[in-house]
Amino acid sequence: MPEPALTWHDADGAPRGIPFHPGQSVAAALTAAGVRDLRATRRGLDGEGRGLHCGMGVCQDCLVEVDGTPNLRACVTKALPGMQVRHQDFPGVARLPLGPVPVPDDAPLPAQEVVDLLILGGGAGGLSAAIAARRCGLDVLVVEERTALGGQYYKQPAPGLGAAALDAQQAEGAALAATAEASGARILRGAELWGAFDLDRIALFDGARTRLLAPRAMIVAAGSYERPHVVPGWTLPGVMTTGAGQTLWRSHRVLPGRRVLVAGNGPLNIQVACELAEAGAAVVAVAEAAAHPATRPRAALAMAAADPSLAIKGGRYVAALRRRGVPLLHGTVLTAIARAPDGALRATLRGPRGETTQEADAVLLGYGFLPSHETLRALGAECRFDADRGQFVPLRDAALMTTVPGLYAVGDCAGLGGAPAAREEGILAALAVARQLGRAVAPDVAAEESAARGRLARHRRFQAALWDLFAAPRAGLSLATPDTVVCRCEEVTRGEIEAALADGAPALGELKRRTRCGMGRCQGRYCAQLLAEHLAATQGRPLDNLALFAPRAPVKPIAIADIVALGTPERLP
C-alpha cells in the first residue's frame, strides 16, 4: 500500500509531495523530508525563516498555512492525506477563505459546567491525580493539549502511528494512560485551556467548541518547557530543543537530522543523544555545561543513595555514548550557531580547552526547564523566585494547594522535580481535593498517601543531588550579541532591549511597550523570565510576584471563531 502524502508548497511556491506515516505531525513529516524553513518573519533578522523549535506547541515558531488556514503549529498539527501545507510569508493570511464566514447567533452564554475536579495536563502528574481522584469517587475532567497522553516524560507514540513502545519508560507511560482512561475520568485530548479568569470561570476549547467550566477544585499539572538558550543563531531552522528532537523520534519515529549535535545542561541531553544514536543518527557530540561528575563525588554518591536504579540508568546512558564513540564534553557551553556554506549548522562550543566548532543538520539545545505556571498565575496563585534553580514557583502548602483556595499545583509546573515526583504529587493533591470536597477517602487509598509521601521524599532527595551534580551557571543574556534575537516572536534584539533600558531604566512592562518584547504569540514564555532576571541584575529590581508580565487570557492564541461559538455572555453592554 503506498504511503499517504501531503503537498508542501515551498517559499517559491513549488509544490512537492511529502510522504508520511499515519499519526505523524506535519512537522515530523516535513523534517523527515528535510524541510526545515517553514515561514518568513516580519523582520527576517537572521536572513532565514523559522522552523520547528520547541516541538510541543509552546514557542509558536513552526507556523504554516494548512488548507488555507494560516498560522497553524506544524508540531501539533496531524498530517493528513492530501493536505496542502504552505510556507508562510509574514503575516501569512493571503488565502483567507473568500466565502461567507459563519456569524454566531445570539444564543445566550451557556451556564458554566460544574465538575468536582478539573485537571490541566495529561502527563505523569495529571494522570496520576486523575486515577487517585477517581478512586475517591470524584467527578474528574482532564484537559490535555496534545492528542497523546503521557506528557513530555512518557512521550507516547503518536496515536495512529501503530508504533510499539520503545522502552520501559514508554511502556510505563502507556500503562499509566490506560489506567487513567479506565478510571472513569473524562479525558479531553487536543483541548486547549485558553482562559483562566477565575477558578469558577475557566474557558477551554475542546476541539469542537469553547466551554466554560466551574470546577470545585483544580489541579494544574502543566509541566514545563525548555529554558531558552539565547545565543546568536538560536532561531535558525534546524535548531530545536532537546525535547523537540526527542519527540520527533519517540513520538513520530523521525530523526531530527542525520548529524545531530546535543548541547545543554542536565541528564535529558545524554538520554536523548543515546536514543538518537541508537536510532541511527550520527551524534557528533554532547556538550554538557556542568563540570565532570568526578569533580563532585559527594553529589554523585548522594544521588546513588537516593535512587540506585535511576543512578544506574544514568550511568548506562553515559556508557552507551562512550561505546558509540560520541564525545561527552563536560564543562562545555554552546555559544553561537551559524549557517555553514554547505548548508549545515556550525556551532561554536566553549570548553575547558577553548573554542571548537561542530557541524550538524540539527542542533538540540537543552539548558534546563521553566515551569509552565501561566495558568496558576492567571488565577492569582502567588509565586516566588527560587534563585538556586532559577525559576518562579508557586507557593504551596503541605497539601500542594497554592495561595488560591481550591487550586493545586503538581509536578514540574510547580518547580522541577521530574515525572516520578509528579506522580506522587498527583496522588497527594487528589486526596487533598477529596478531603476538601468532603468525600470519604477509602482506607486503601488513604494508606497510599503515606507511601506516596515516602516515595516523594526520596525522589526529591534524588533530584536535589542530581542538580548538584549538574550544577552549572545559567547564561541568561550573557551569550547574546547586540544582533541576537531575544524575543523570538516579535524579533526584538538584545541591542534594542539594551537601548531601551539605557533610556531611563524602565521596568518590565514599560520595556515591553517600548520594544514589543513579550507581545507575541508565545505570550512571553521565552523572554519574560530572562528579562526579569536581567532587570534584577542590572537595576536591582525584586524577582517577586510582580516581576513577570501580567498574566492574562488567552493563555495561548485561540481562533476567534472558536471563542465566539460559545454564545453571548449574560451581560451585553
Binding site: 493570511v93 452564554l109 531604566a505 504569540r521 487570557a553 465566539v564 455572555p569
Partner: protein
C-alpha cells in the same frame, strides 16, 4: 531614582496628557518634571490609539446627561486630531498615524436615522461627516458584514500607534531637558505658605513652584484634601488584539448602538475595544480582564467584520479610561495659586496633545489660546458638592 528637592513645574501623571503638557512647557524654556505613580499604569500606557472625532454613541447612550458637554467639546476633537498630525511633523518621528476616516455603522433603519440626526448636528458644528448607504460601504469598506446597512463616515478620524507616539513625545521632552520620574506616587499636595507647593511622595517631599494635575482618574483624589470636588471616575476597559493579518480593516469602525471600536495596526494586528468593562483587582487596583467582556467584544466584532472570526486572539488587556461630565477639566484652579488641572473629558488619548498645549498655555499665562477654556474650569463641580 531620587526626587529633586525643587522644581519650577511638576506635572503629576506621565500619560499622553502629562507628557504633552510638559513638552509644551519645556519648549517655552520652563523647568519641568513629570512624576508618574507606577511602573504599570492604566490610562495612556494601555491605550489602543483610536483618534476619535465624531461623538461616540456609547457615551450618548450611557451618559445622556453628558451630551451637551460632548457637543460643546466637538470642535476640540477636530482640533485635537489636527494637533496629532502637527505633533508628528514637529517631532519628525512616524507614529504610524493614519487619518483614514472613521465609520459608525448601523444595523437597523432606526439607528441609521439616529446617526443621520447626529451627522446633521455634527455637520453644523463643522465636522466633515456624511452618511453612507450599503452600496457605498460595499465599495469603501468591503470587510463589513451583511448586517451593516449604513454608516456615518467621519473623514477626520483615524488611528496611530500609541507605543511609538508616547516614546516620541517622551524623547522630545527629555531632549529639551524635561525630567521624568516614573514609579513615584504623589500621596498628597500641600500649599506652601511662602507660595508654591509641596508634593509628598513615599520617597520624600518635593517643592514645586507650580503643579499640573494630569493624573486622569486619580486627579479627583489629589484635589479632595484641598476641599475641591472633581468627580473623575476610573473606567477600566477591555481590549482584544488579534494576530497580524493582511490589510483588512481600513477605517476606525464603531457601532451606532453597541460598544465596539475596531481598527488594524500598520503591523497587521486588529485591535478591538469599545468600552467593554474590565475590573480593578487587588490592593494595587490592577485592571484585570473579564471573560464576559473578552467573549462579548469578540462576538460583536466578528458580527460586524465576519472575517475576524478567522483570526486568532493573541492578547487581551485592560486599561483605564477617565470620565467626568463629558467635558475637559482644564486650567487654573481658582483660589489655589499655581495649581492647574489637565484632564480630558473623554477620549483622553485623542485629546492628549491638545489638552497638553492648552494646559501649558494656562500655566504660562498665555492669552492667545485657540479655545476658551473657561467652560472647563475645575471648580464647576463645587455646586454639585454643596448639593451632595
Amino acid at each position: 531614582m531620587t526626587l529633586p528637592r525643587e522644581v519650577d513645574v511638576a506635572v503629576i501623571g506621565g500619560g499622553i496628557v502629562g507628557l504633552c503638557t510638559a513638552l509644551e512647557l519645556a519648549r517655552a524654556g520652563t523647568e519641568v518634571l513629570v512624576l508618574d505613580d507606577a511602573a504599570r499604569l492604566g490610562g495612556t500606557t494601555a491605550n489602543a490609539g483610536s483618534l476619535h472625532v465624531q461623538m461616540q454613541s456609547r457615551f450618548i447612550r450611557l451618559y445622556p446627561d453628558q451630551v451637551p458637554g460632548l457637543e460643546a467639546s466637538l470642535p476640540l476633537y477636530v482640533a485635537a486630531a489636527r494637533r496629532w498630525a502637527e505633533l508628528e511633523q514637529e517631532l519628525g518621528t512616524g507614529f504610524e498615524r493614519k487619518a483614514s476616516g472613521g465609520l459608525m455603522v448601523a444595523e437597523t433603519p432606526e439607528s441609521y436615522e439616529f446617526l443621520a440626526r447626529k451627522c446633521e448636528r455634527e455637520k453644523r458644528l463643522g465636522l466633515q461627516v456624511e452618511m453612507l448607504g450599503r452600496a457605498e460601504l460595499a465599495r469603501i469598506a468591503p470587510y463589513l458584514g451583511e448586517a451593516v446597512i449604513g454608516a456615518e463616515f467621519c473623514a477626520e478620524e483615524g488611528k496611530l500607534n500609541p507605543l511609538l507616539a508616547n516614546q516620541a513625545v517622551r524623547r522630545a521632552l527629555q531632549a529639551l531637558g524635561g525630567a521624568l520620574l516614573p514609579e513615584t506616587r504623589i500621596e498628597r499636595l500641600e500649599a506652601d505658605p511662602r507660595g508654591g507647593w509641596t508634593l509628598h511622595a513615599g520617597t520624600g517631599p518635593l517643592r514645586a513652584g507650580r503643579v499640573v494635575l494630569a493624573a486622569g482618574a486619580g486627579t479627583g483624589a489629589l484635589l479632595a484634601p484641598l476641599g475641591l470636588v472633581v468627580p473623575t471616575v476610573a473606567e477600566p476597559l477591555h481590549m482584544n488584539v488579534t494576530e497580524a493579518t493582511a490589510p483588512l480593516i481600513g477605517h476606525l469602525v464603531q457601532h451606532a448602538e453597541r460598544m465596539i471600536t475596531l481598527k488594524q495596526l500598520s503591523a497587521g494586528q486588529c485591535v478591538i475595544g469599545g468600552g467593554w468593562p474590565a475590573r480593578l483587582h487587588g490592593p494595587q487596583q490592577h485592571p484585570t480582564v473579564e471573560a464576559s467582556s473578552l467573549i462579548g467584544n469578540l462576538r460583536l466584532a466578528s458580527h460586524i467584520v465576519p472575517r475576524l472570526a478567522r483570526l486568532r486572539l493573541i492578547r487581551a488587556w485592560a486599561g483605564v479610561n477617565t470620565t467626568v461630565d463629558g467635558r475637559c477639566v482644564l486650567g487654573a484652579v481658582p483660589g489655589h495659586a499655581g495649581l492647574f488641572t489637565a484632564v480630558p473629558g473623554d477620549a483622553g488619548y485623542t485629546l492628549g496633545p491638545l489638552v497638553g498645549r492648552l494646559a501649558a498655555g494656562a500655566v504660562l499665562g498665555r492669552r492667545d489660546l485657540d479655545f476658551d477654556i473657561a467652560p472647563f474650569s475645575p471648580v464647576r463641580f463645587a455646586g454639585a458638592a454643596a448639593l451632595a
